[in-house]
Amino acid sequence: MIAALTQLLVLQLVGEVIARGFNLPIPGPVIGMLLLFLALALRGGPTSDLQATSQGLLQHLSLLFVPAGTGIVLHLHRVADEWLPLLLSLLSSTVLTLALTALLMRLCARRVVTGE
């Protein structure tokens, strides 16, 4: 577990250095994810240690959003003032994005299948 955790942190650190060094709009952890993906492709898969550790981290991914979510206490005034546009915007945009993305992907997936 420690070896895998070290590997994840090293890749995040390298990603952070690349992002800041080249002034990229992409955050370090996402570059770290791309680097790990490349490493896995070159090595032909993760070690069982890495697989177990990443599974452990991802199984409770929800937990990691709780501290930032609790930050809503900093914005209670704004939320109280603008609750209607915020609610309608979040709700309609979430439904639209889910539905349009899924429907268009299904359309393309069918095209691909029938086109072959």
Binding site: L63, L64, V66, T70, L104, M105
Partner: protein, 239 residues
């Protein structure tokens, strides 16, 4: 007795131990309810845990910064967890390659619709400009979204809250919406959830299946890149 309790409180309220432990306890409680509810998307664990913590901070009159001094250790793990998403992505890569065209179409449609519809609806109902700009990156994973908000003139900490609200909404609504639209392919369900609802949607997608989770992780990473690149160009068109 009372002075001792006061001393204890003074110690606890300045130590990171309390914020960290409370975060984990709130999540354990939320997860217990989520499990008792048969893993229903309606009993979303992030929503339940945040609600409990907000109530607790209000009742004890604790500033968010004091709480976050402890909770930051949990928050920090978002970084390594994002890197770790490469593992399920690698395991599902055969399927991703076969779905390349739908994936690219889904990415372009999803990232533009997510940002444009949020900004336009908010403006239509009279939100302030700062709120509109904070909403624009709301479908992108927290650290990227906060960076984008800062660059385009939104409020980063407000964006974080809107991102998480969007994540909860997407995780709650996704299953019912896809069932109603008869979308059954776990790859498409996962990808659309990841585009819309980033990490919280991805956590939910992993509960449906490993394949849905991997596609959600892919969508989350790609949408982070796409929105960071497209949004600065898209915003002038929306003004």
């Amino acid at each position: 007795m009372t002075p001792q309790i006061n001393e204890l409180w003074v110690y606890l309220s300045t130590s990171p131990l309390l914020g960290l432990t409370l975060t984990l306890l709130a999540y354990q409680g939320a997860w217990w309810i989520h499990r008792r509810a048969g893993f229903s998307p309606l009993a979303n664990p992030v929503l339940l845990a945040v609600a409990a913590l907000v109530a607790l901070l209000a009742v004890t009159d604790t500033p968010y910064q004091t709480y976050f001094d402890g909770a930051q250790f949990v928050h920090f793990l978002l970084g390594p967890a994002t890197v770790a998403l490469a593992v399920p992505l690698y395991m599902q890569f055969q399927r991703v390659r076969a779905m390349l065209v739908p994936v690219i179409v889904g990415l372009l449609v999803g990232s533009v619709v997510a940002a444009a519809s949020a900004v336009l609806v908010a403006r239509l109902f009279g939100a302030s400009l700062a709120t509109q700009l904070s909403l624009a990156p709301k479908s992108v994973t927290t650290p990227i979204a906060m960076g984008i908000a800062e660059r385009i003139g939104g409020i980063p900490s407000l964006t974080a809250v809107l991102v998480i609200s969007t994540g909860i909404l997407g995780a709650v609504l996704g299953r019912y919406l896809f069932d109603a639209l008869r979308i059954r392919d776990p790859a498409i369900r996962g990808f659309a959830t990841g585009i819309t609802a980033h990490g919280i949607g991805t956590a939910r997608a992993f509960q449906e299946s490993e394949q849905a989770g991997a596609f959600a992780a892919l969508a989350m990473g790609m949408n982070g890149l796409a929105t960071a690149l497209l949004l600065p160009a898209l915003l002038p068109l929306l003004q």
